[in-house]
């Protein structure tokens, strides 16, 4: 219905009043001759109001005569009448035309680049890489060859596994997938030693290849050879190098110390606030304030940006920036201990994830928390033999 109304508005229409003893005859004649009437309403005993298109209106006179009705125009609506009324206002018309042209031209360019996926890839770097490949705010949407840009990005950035670019209106949506590094595999035919990854006490050792150097109960240091790839013959005259392999289960200790702050900062708003407004056009800022600094020593800044856009994907390079500065008073308060301890413990726990925990010792002092995890883990690590 909205579309119909829009079309009617663009074409122009008139609200008319049909007066006569038998207005039904008028309506029938209009229908017969293909004149579309809408919103026909009884206005009085002898009158009916209706809407008729500007083109249809010109054909009404003979119908009115035939049906013995009189037709009066109540109002004219729509674009043709509007422009007719304002045709002498050259600057206004020029402005309206310029607006249309500008809007059309503006929507031919890309103004926004949205990157999704690849959470660990720095956005700045991606944006500069995209800009080098030919996709940056301000390039013509038609000139941006997404396939070529995708290819170029893939060859330039090794860390990308996949990149997809779609252009919608003035927005370029970039979807990236990060490449997951394949784990370093030590070649099977290269000779190597098995060394300890961390300090620990050997619990069990299972050497599938190579010479065992330590046994259960031994204390080992990180880097110490556990299973040797260097094999000597019984006489000691001949040396053979093999690819040592096996699993070494050891008891390890992981110690974490977290400081617990005794005081914490508390910010309270004083009630005084200042706001600053800015208009951003392309990359230029127009400030709506005299350039005075914020005199508050401590403040919270809350910024909001409103982008001028048509729908969701046609974003124009104009935005309104609104910054609000709240003055705050910073006071120190005794920290809530329980919560701080919880937070510290959770952080430590995250770092021993995946290990088998046998024992946990907690030492809490005035200003810190020491957590010692005793774990069972495979400390076998391959290292090349330096001959």
């Amino acid at each position: 219905m909205l579309l119909v109304q829009l079309v009617n508005f663009i074409r122009g229409y008139a609200e008319i009043l049909i007066e006569g003893i038998f207005p039904e005859r008028f309506l029938n004649l209009c229908a017969r001759r293909g004149i579309y009437l809408w919103n026909v309403r009884r206005a009085g005993k002898l009158s009916v109001s209706a809407n008729v298109s500007a083109r249809g209106f010109k054909m009404l006179r003979p119908i009115a005569r035939k049906s013995r009705c009189s037709v009066r125009v109540r109002t004219r609506r729509g674009l043709p009448f509007f422009t007719h009324k304002h045709r002498k206002r050259k600057a206004f018309l020029l402005g309206a035309a310029l607006f249309g042209v500008m809007l059309f031209v503006m929507t031919r360019f890309i103004w926004v680049i949205e990157i999704t996926g690849g959470e660990n890839l720095p956005r700045e770097e991606l944006l500069t890489a995209l800009a080098a490949a030919g996709l940056k705010p301000g390039v013509a949407a038609r000139a941006a060859d997404t396939d070529a840009i995708e290819r170029e990005m893939m060859t330039r950035r090794r860390e990308l596994a996949w990149i997809g670019i779609t252009i919608q209106g003035t927005t370029a949506r970039v979807n990236v997938r990060e490449r997951e590094e394949a784990p370093a595999i030590f070649p099977k035919d290269e000779p190597c030693d098995i060394v300890a990854a961390t300090d620990g006490v050997i619990e069990a050792i299972d050497a599938t290849n190579g010479g065992r150097q330590v046994s259960a109960g031994d204390v080992v240091r990180a880097g110490q050879v556990l299973i040797s790839g260097t094999l000597e013959s019984a006489s000691g005259a001949e040396v053979r190098y093999v690819h040592a392999d096996g699993e070494v289960l050891a008891r390890t200790w992981h110690e974490f110390y977290v400081e617990i702050p005794r005081y914490e900062e508390v910010k309270t708003r004083t009630g005084r606030a200042k706001s600053k407004h800015m208009l951003k056009i392309f990359n230029f800022y127009i400030k709506f304030f005299i350039n005075d600094g914020i005199s508050y020593t401590n403040y919270d800044r809350i910024s909001s940006v409103k982008n001028l856009s048509v729908g969701e994907s046609i974003v124009l390079p104009f935005s309104f920036h609104y910054d609000k500065y709240y003055e705050v008073e910073v006071t120190m308060r005794e920290a809530e201990r329980g919560r701080a301890v919880e937070l510290a413990a959770a952080g430590a726990h995250e770092r021993v994830r995946g290990l088998q925990i046998i024992d946990l010792r907690r030492e809490e002092t005035e200003d810190g928390l020491r957590l010692t995890y005793e774990c069972l883990e495979n400390i076998a690590q391959k290292r090349e033999i330096t001959r």
Partner: protein, 90 residues
């Protein structure tokens, strides 16, 4: 009642009746909108009573605040609070 030749053909071919015959087709939404296709003309229009000529019987619509939202050569769209639709044999 004896069926006409045209009527028998449409029934045989399973054609929609309003296409070949001039049978009026009424579409009613709740009690507030009525479309009459294949009407012959408006006989009477007031805001509480409308009579439409069709190939068969005359259709009379009673109600309150009746408006003709759209009138074209083949159909008419009535809006308002409709209380009854009658088929009159004159």
């Amino acid at each position: 009642m004896k069926k006409s030749k045209k009527e028998r053909v449409t029934e045989l071919l399973d054609l929609p009746k309003e296409v070949l015959l001039d049978t009026p087709k009424l579409t009613v939404y709740s009690d507030n909108q009525l479309t009459v296709e294949n009407y012959g003309g408006i006989l009477e229009y007031t805001d509480c009573y409308i009579r439409l000529k069709t190939a068969g019987k005359t259709i009379a619509v009673s109600g309150r605040g009746l408006e003709l939202r759209a009138i074209t050569d083949v159909d008419v769209l009535v809006e308002g609070s409709i209380s009854r639709i009658d088929y009159l044999t004159v």
